[in-house]
Amino acid sequence: MSAGILYYALGGGHGHVLRGLAVLSRLGHGTLLGPSALAPWAAALGVAYVSPPAAGAREWFAACPAPALLVVDVFPRGVVAELTPLLERAPAAWLVARRVREDYYLHPPVRATLESRYERVLWCETPPPALADLAVDATPLPPILLRPRALDRAEARRRLGVTPGEPLILALGSGDPERQRLLCRLLVKIAARRGAALRFVSSELEAAPPVVALFPAAAWLDAADVVVTAAGYHAVHETALAGVPTVLVPQARAYDDQRWRAREGVVATDPDALEAAVARLLGGGRRRPLRVGDGAAALARLIERRMELGVLGQEEVAPMA
């Protein structure tokens, strides 16, 4: 592991690693620290990747060479616990923050760490209003997304075994595998009643029809006539960017605020609502793709400038606002 940029993405979900991959693949250097199970994603993109051992992680962190800049992708455990040995030695630390519940940031040990150990918080979603008085520099960024090259719709559908003209429901599985299995089961019935094909993207369920493993899933969105997904960070921003009709099924999380993220979308919270929404969107055509800046590229530029200058002036971060 080099002593340059270390992007810490050791959360349980995929989003932390996806944001890290997005930033480091644009930066062209740096090391991503994430769970070992997702190492193949980094290998596919040529990003340096390390994982702590399953046992002895605390000692492993204590022995890590201090990076010149530690970039932490927010998730609860890391900010205040296992990262402490690195935070104490790293000359500078930035926090990449998405929208999680404000009581997490205001939890006294978390707030104290943020205000004493972090140089800057980079918000890739709108922060809750109650966090306006956090005593740490804050920089708003557009969504940090991988933005892979989209597969041509016809080619993607051919590779998924979907015939031209056949409506496709593309579901993006995430979270608890048992809930994924139940949602997939329900969507099989809905797809059958609606005369649509179903592909359920999951890296947790066994890849047998209709379950498929696709990475990065964002590249396949144009194949879909309607997407069904939880309201995780990437799913919401990527489907908006692609302009694909989407039904959101927000999941309850300890901190990730999926109901807030889904507030302007089509939301289903029971089987009837899901089937009605799928039926409505299947007949409704595409939505206008959202035009937003590339947050990963913007963050990569800020990191480069920080490394060159040793500090970021207001003129560096003002254009991000």
């Binding site: 609860p76 995430s174 048992e178 089961r185 289903a268």
Partner: protein
Amino acid sequence: MSPLACGDRSGFLFAHACDRPATGACSVCHKPICMEHTRMAAGGPTCITCLRDHDDNDADDDAADDGADDPYFYGGRERAAYYDADDYRAFEPAPDRPPGLETDTGAS
């Protein structure tokens, strides 16, 4: 060369030709079958028609209950309610994990 078409004619209610490209072959009758008409059985990938025939000939077999959620088999097996309890469970929170700051896993 155009891809081989699926040879199964099973529908949810009525038999009809399938115009999807074949992605494999049935392990029982060996005809080409598409992803939609493929189910994994004990002997390997099997078409809907062969599975239905197996059900008809072996109605008391416990295995006949496998795939009760499959719309291709609604008519020949105990017909499920429109939505059942498991469908609603798909929307419930995942089982509790230990409380604290180490529980933020999943979609992010």
